[in-house]
Amino acid sequence: MFLAVLNLNHPAHFLNWGPLSISIPNLVIILVMVFLFILALMIPFPNHSQENKEGEK
């Protein structure tokens, strides 16, 4: 294996709560996905309003 900057080739850490169990890597990915979703909701399309106005002319 090529040496990576961050070595992930070891067992992951897990968060456990009753029957629930999730690895830290999975939790990070889920949080990143939620963050990107919120960003996609909040950030307006570039020049969106300007293009709409041009189209209406």
């Binding site: 294996m1 990576a4 080739n9 897990f14 169990s21 690895s23 999975n26 309003s49």
Partner: protein
């Protein structure tokens, strides 16, 4: 003429009279490809990728020969999971069923496997170990009752005293021949496994190319501790939300959380028909999702949680567009 007029009146055939704006699809595509390529190459350099070595019969024989030997004896005695699984491998078990729903029975034996023959005896018959073919002949010429008695007696003795498999050379002691050819068969199978020949024999028994891993996987899954301890180490067991996880510390398949969830709670985590229960539940839920626009109450959720109004907020902020 009547048909042409009705076609013109069809809404989809009318030209769009609302606002228009330019959209450069090629530019969008190029940006998307460049961003994904930079992310893929950058993240690979940063994190690399899972590179766990394959679990093989050779690694099993090297790291836990006693477990492999005990499992091989179990295959000969017909006491392993695969030997009594039922369809699709054999007719030795009833399979999973709920009331009248028995998909294993309905589909029948599609991949016939006789655990003793296909996982132990036939691979041994392909070996060039001196005397191996004589052992195979002796086993095959004996009655089924005698075969099972030899294997069961040896399994009992083996369970009591693992020293039957000497630690130094990982060879089974024959104990005065009272177990028939079983100890010698297990000896030769271990020799095959240590050399890697058993992996080849199991994966090429049905095709010239080693592409079918059904038999080595069944053999490994029948094992006592070797395979399961590796799975436990990486949280890959069914009881550990295994399908969601990956080897190492890489993220896994978190989108399978709902499938995995049912395996963690009663009664499914202890039901002999657990897989069937989970399959049926997920089928019902998938069907419900498909029919969501027709299900009262559930179809009102977008009105209670109007995320779509956030996405198309410009549209909803225009008083003229609400009609």
């Amino acid at each position: 003429m009547k048909n042409q007029n009705s076609f013109k009146n069809y809404p989809a055939s009318q030209s769009w009279s609302g606002p228009k704006r330019q959209y450069d699809l090629i530019k969008e595509l190029v940006i998307a490809i460049v961003v994904v390529a930079v992310l893929s190459i950058g993240l690979s350099a940063l994190f690399s990728s899972p590179d766990e070595r394959a679990v093989t019969m050779k690694s099993w024989a090297t790291h836990n020969p006693i477990d492999l030997a005990q499992t091989a004896v179990g295959e000969l005695a017909g006491t392993t999971t695969s030997a009594g699984y039922g369809a699709p491998y054999n007719q030795n078990g009833s399979g999973q069923s709920i009331a009248f729903i028995s998909p294993q029975k309905w589909l029948g034996v599609r991949i016939p496997i006789n655990s003793a023959q296909d996982l132990v005896i036939k691979p041994l018959a392909t070996s060039n170990i001196p005397g191996a073919t004589d052992l195979v002949s002796k086993w095959n010429s004996t009655s089924a009752d005698q075969q099972i008695k030899w294997a069961n007696d040896f399994a009992k003795a083996f369970d009591k005293d693992n020293a039957l498999l000497s630690a130094n050379n990982a060879n089974v002691q024959n104990s005065d021949g009272k177990y028939g050819p079983v100890p010698a068969i297990v000896n030769d199978l271990l020799t095959m496994a240590r050399s890697g020949a058993l992996d080849g024999a199991l994966t090429t028994s049905d095709s010239p190319l080693p592409t079918n891993f059904t038999k080595p996987l069944l053999f490994l899954a029948d094992g006592g501790s070797y395979f399961s301890s590796i799975a436990s180490k990486y949280h890959l067991q069914g009881s550990q939300w295994g399908v969601m996880n990956e080897t190492g510390s890489w993220p896994g398949q978190s989108w399978l959380w709902l499938f995995s969830f049912w395996y963690q709670i009663p009664p499914f985590n202890s039901s002999p028909a657990g897989d069937l229960w989970v399959g049926l539940i997920m089928g019902v839920l998938t069907f419900a999702l498909l029919l969501l626009p027709f299900i009262p109450i559930l179809r009102r959720i977008p009105y209670w949680i109007p995320i779509h109004k956030l996405i198309w907020r410009n549209w909803y902020s225009d008083p003229d567009s609400k009609n």
